[in-house]
C-alpha cells in the first residue's frame, strides 16, 4: 500500500541536510499533496 499517494504531506526540511522544496518535489512526484513546507536549522 502506498505511503504518500493521496496523502497530505508536511515537509520538514533541514538547512544542513535536504531542503524543504527538494522533499516537496519528490513527495508530489509520488502523488502526495504538500500542505506545508519548511526548512529548519537544527542547532
Amino acid at each position: 500500500m502506498s505511503i504518500l499517494a493521496g496523502k497530505k504531506i508536511i515537509v520538514m526540511g533541514d538547512r544542513d541536510g535536504i531542503p524543504g522544496p527538494a522533499i516537496a518535489a519528490c513527495a508530489e512526484s509520488a502523488g502526495g499533496e504538500v500542505v506545508f513546507v519548511t526548512t529548519e536549522c537544527f542547532v
Partner: protein, 111 residues
C-alpha cells in the same frame, strides 16, 4: 523543532486528522531526525513549544528511507536527492525515525 512549525503541525493535525497526513524529514544527522520525529510523534521533548505534552502520533518518515524512495519518481529523486543520499548515513537515519514510529505505535497500543 522551531516553535512556529510546531504550532503549524499541530493545527494541520487537528484540521486534517492524523491518518490523512504524512510527515517527511530531511535531517542530515540521526540525532536531529530522532528529535524531530519524537516531537511529531510523541510531543516536544524540551517542553518548550506547542507540542509539549501533545502526542500527535503522526506518520513520520525520513525522505531517504527505502520505502519512501521507492514511491518517488526516479528522475525527480535523481535530480533532488541522489547527491545527498550518497553523503548521508541513510541506515542510521532510517533506524532513528523507524524507532520513533515504533514508540508511537507502542504508545497507541498501550493507551
Amino acid at each position: 523543532m522551531d516553535l512556529q512549525n510546531q504550532a503549524r503541525v499541530k493545527e494541520l493535525a487537528e484540521q486534517l486528522g492524523r491518518d490523512a497526513l504524512v510527515v517527511l524529514l530531511g535531517a542530515s544527522e540521526p540525532d536531529s531526525a530522532s528529535i524531530t520525529a519524537e516531537t511529531i510523534c510523541l510531543g516536544d521533548p524540551t517542553f518548550a513549544g506547542p507540542l509539549a505534552g501533545v502526542s500527535l502520533r503522526l506518520h513520520v518518515y525520513h525522505v531517504l528511507e527505502p520505502e519512501i524512495k521507492a514511491e518517488i519518481d526516479p528522475a525527480v529523486f535523481e535530480e533532488q536527492l541522489a547527491m545527498m543520499e550518497m553523503v548521508m548515513d541513510v541506515p542510521r537515519l532510517a533506524a532513528e525515525v523507524a524507532a520513533m514510529r515504533d514508540r508511537s505505535r507502542g504508545q497507541a497500543a498501550g493507551s
